[in-house]
């Protein structure tokens, strides 16, 4: 396995092509593992406490070895950088055609540093890379930028695929994401602000080169088997039709939504159900990631017959809302019509901004207004004009979105890094403590799902390396009460699937974090794994595909160790930045305010929080009091070099 890395120094305009040697794949698998390593190496020679919006930050794009090789398990590209909104390790995955095309362009990894003197974009075509003037693209949203770039570069030697930022990224809004082909957003952690701060508007790729596959016959037969496994499960067809939207009913049933800034956990009204979406909305096209057997995503168009509200949006086209788009719109903001939820998804996508942090910023302010903690005059001061803040009112919501994207007014400026930092600054300005109403977890990142009854999920929110997030150690064993998996991984014990006990919850996070790190390093989509072909084992079943492509044969135990090594490097980056146990925490409402409805009322995170966190550190082999890594654990994982650096920074237990 060999791969190429393109190093771009935007300050000098220097472009350098490097080979990534086989040993690096042996150690870091690929994808996010290699991205993390490139970031780690960069911060050995640059100040890790630099301003994330400054030229010293690094922005890495990478795709893993399984992507685009016919595995059929979906493609996810990954961006890695120091997060401008949370100030910690940041990364984000995204699908679409961009990561697929990157693999045929000659480079699988792109590391960008410095800052361009004027707006530029990077064009890569069959190993030839160029920085081109982007002044004509500046000020355009992601859809327009993508269309212009596609037109400019045409279809030879291949179609052009792009990674772009919108005005939000240009304005260095901390919660701005990066959008692949104007459809798929790398939303978390503010990659858009990093690109914006570097004056890099877009990356456009083309290519018709090939990729080496070590054992093509093995790959074809693995892929055949994988597809058969997916095809034999009828639930996969449900997922093809509805995507994650199918979860709305389940979340409503158990009380896992995030209603009005999590004052409740169930949607009000009957409209926001996946059944209604399927019945009423006109699908006209798929918009899939390449190399994916499932194809869960589609494009829709509003014709005005769906509902009264939908008449406002006749002719509008968008992707089907995902669960979290719905959770933020119908939940956090209480929008009650599907067309509005879809419209919310469309504008956040076109503006390339994280709808989790954005919706929680808006719902924070709406709750202050609802409780009369701020007056109309206070709101007018924030917006520079009179502004209503009504739950479920799309006009008010749009005014808030534009304030943030275009940095129009005080509200936009205060909340450019999400609700936590916004609430802190606003509390200071008003001389009042509003933090009780800010919803966030680690790093100040927010998430629009009810967490309190679910100890593993709460633990995810507190420990995820990139700030509160469920994708790092997703607690499906617990939420779906998978006793079978609990038994499989924990010597016949079933507690990981039992919501009523803190036992094995931290262990479950540690286990799944390692598995997810592996999947992210393969460069595949997590949903194939959630639908569980081959028994929920990225280290086992997927390991065979990894071997067929790279020629690296690993036992499942070795691969789990590889996953653990990748997680430990992410942790080490955060430890160097100064994160300790006290940073692994969640907001007041989750911690102390009991749930009032849903299937699990009366729950607070504090019930189990510390027990679970202790157990997590224990399973990780980290020290409990400081939350820091131990030399013994790092040595065991072959990370002595990392331990040395941590010791120098006094970030080792």
């Amino acid at each position: 396995m060999e791969s190429r890395l393109l190093r771009v120094n935007l300050t000098t305009g220097e472009l350098k092509s490097e080979a990534i040697p086989h040993q690096l794949f042996e150690r870091w698998i690929g994808g996010s593992g290699i991205n993390n390593w490139l970031m780690w190496e960069h911060f050995l020679t640059h100040d890790i406490n630099c301003d994330p919006r400054g030229p010293d930050n690094i922005f890495v794009f990478g795709v893993g070895p399984l992507a685009g090789t016919g595995a059929g398990s979906g493609i996810k590209g990954r961006i890695t950088f120091k997060s401008p909104c949370y100030g910690i390790f940041g990364d984000s995955a995204g699908g679409g055609k961009f990561p697929y095309m990157v693999r045929f362009s000659g480079y699988e990894y792109i590391a960008i540093t410095g800052r361009a003197p004027k707006p530029v974009y990077l064009h890569i075509c069959n190993e030839e890379a160029m920085l081109l003037d982007a002044s004509h693209l500046w000020g355009k949203d992601t859809a327009e930028t993508h269309a212009l770039l596609q037109k400019e570069h045409g279809t030879w030697p291949s179609k052009t695929h792009t990674l772009t930022i919108s005005q939000a990224g240009e304005n260095q809004v901390g919660i701005a994401g990066v959008v692949s082909d104007a459809l798929r957003i790398h939303a978390r952690c503010g990659g858009g602000a990093v690109m914006g701060s570097k004056n890099l508007k877009a990356i456009a790729v083309q290519g018709n080169g090939g990729l080496p596959v070590a054992r093509p016959k093995d790959m074809l037969s693995w892929s055949d088997d994988f597809r058969k496994k997916l095809d034999s499960n009828e639930a996969v067809y449900g997922f093809k039709r509805r995507g994650t939207l199918g979860a709305v009913e389940m979340y409503q049933h158990i009380g896992s939504h995030f209603w009005r800034n999590n004052q409740g956990n169930m949607f009000r009204g009957d409209e926001i159900r996946s059944d209604n979406w399927v019945k009423k909305y006109q699908k006209y096209s798929e918009v899939c990631s390449s190399d994916c057997f499932i194809a869960c995503d589609s494009k829709y168009k509003i014709d005005g017959t769906e509902s009264e509200t939908a008449k406002k949006y006749i002719g509008e086209t968008f992707r089907r809302p995902e669960y979290l788009t719905t959770g933020s719109a119908a939940g956090a903001l209480d929008l009650r019509d599907w067309s509005e939820v879809a419209h919310w998804g469309k504008i956040t996508n076109d503006y390339g901004i994280d709808n989790q942090d954005l919706s929680c910023s808006i719902s924070f302010l709406m709750e202050l207004k609802q409780r009369d903690l701020i007056s109309d005059r206070d709101v007018a001061e924030l917006f520079g004009h009179e502004q209503e803040l009504r739950w479920g009112n799309m006009e008010d919501v749009e005014a808030c979105v534009e304030s943030v994207v275009f940095q129009k007014n005080t509200f936009g400026q205060l909340f450019r890094d999400g609700p936590y930092f916004g609430a802190l600054k606003y509390s200071e300005i008003k001389g009042q403590n509003f933090m009780k109403y800010a919803m966030y977890g680690k790093g100040g990142a927010s998430f629009t799902e009810e967490m309190r009854p679910f100890p593993t999920w709460m633990n995810n929110m507190a420990v995820a390396s990139r700030g509160a997030d469920h994708l790092k150690g997703i607690g499906l064993i617990e939420k779906f009460q998978r006793k079978d998996l609990s038994k499989k991984y924990f010597n016949g014990r079933t507690e990981a699937a039992d919501l009523s006990t803190p036992l094995l919850k931290g262990a479950c996070t540690a286990l799944v974090e390692n598995q997810v790190a592996l999947l992210n390093s393969y460069g595949v989509c997590l949903f194939h794994w959630m639908l569980d072909p081959g028994g929920y084992t990225p280290q086992d079943y997927y390991g065979k595909a990894f071997a067929a492509i790279t020629g690296i044969d690993r036992t499942p135990e070795e691969l789990m160790r590889d996953g653990e090594r990748i997680c430990n490097l992410e942790k080490a980056i955060n430890s160097r930045i100064g994160l300790r146990r006290e940073h692994d925490t969640v907001c007041e409402r989750w911690m102390w305010e009991p749930t009032e409805e849903g299937m699990y009322p009366g729950k607070v995170a504090a019930d189990m929080f510390n027990t679970v966190l202790d157990e997590y550190y224990e399973w990780r082999g980290w020290e409990k009091d400081s939350g820091l890594q131990t030399r013994a654990k790092l040595t065991e994982l072959g990370l002595d070099d990392v331990a040395e650096v941590l010791a120098q920074d006094r970030a080792l237990a």
Binding site: Y100, F104, R227, Y237, F293
Partner: protein
Amino acid sequence: MTAITQIEMVTGAVRYAPGEEVPNVAKKLFALRNQCTECNVCEIACALAHSPDGTVNPQLARLRIDHAPEKPSKINPLGIGFIAEICHHCGNPPPCAEVCPTDAFYYDPETRAAVIEQDNCIQCMECVPGCPFDVVFVAPSGELLKCDLCGGEPVCVKACSTRPEMLNEGKQYNRLPVLFFEDQPEFNRISKQIIEKRDEIGLMQAMLERGEISSSA
């Protein structure tokens, strides 16, 4: 129709005497328009299966996924669905072979598909415009690429995972298999239903009538 001269097979066996009529391909591929999700798995699988050195490159595939050149229709109001562009395996000898100045085409003994003998091909590209369906492709190296039915078990068909779903609720169009062999159960089922139960799959029927579904025949 003049049959082209049959060259010796790679195996050395001569199947058809010069001037003899070559039988047509018995099992043809069937591709549905607009139902494709552009997942590109068929392209990758094809490239992988035909890869001489283990390199996978979709530009070396013998089929392409492209925007459907359809006019807007009910299920595809913007006319932007996708279509698998694949060899129609026209009656033998096919137009691509007929225009070949070097007789570089031969017939696979199993499937009777016309296949390009790369050693005899002078890359004059005559077959590219010669193909009425634009499905003879040019590799980046200049090599001409044409579907050879993988000797009878096309990997693209295996790789196409969209399968028939006859539920039709609300405004969701049905997802159907895009690529399949005519003797596959899906094909038989669909064609049987089209004949027997016109009302149940009226959508399918309407699509056929409007030409939104194409078969290779």
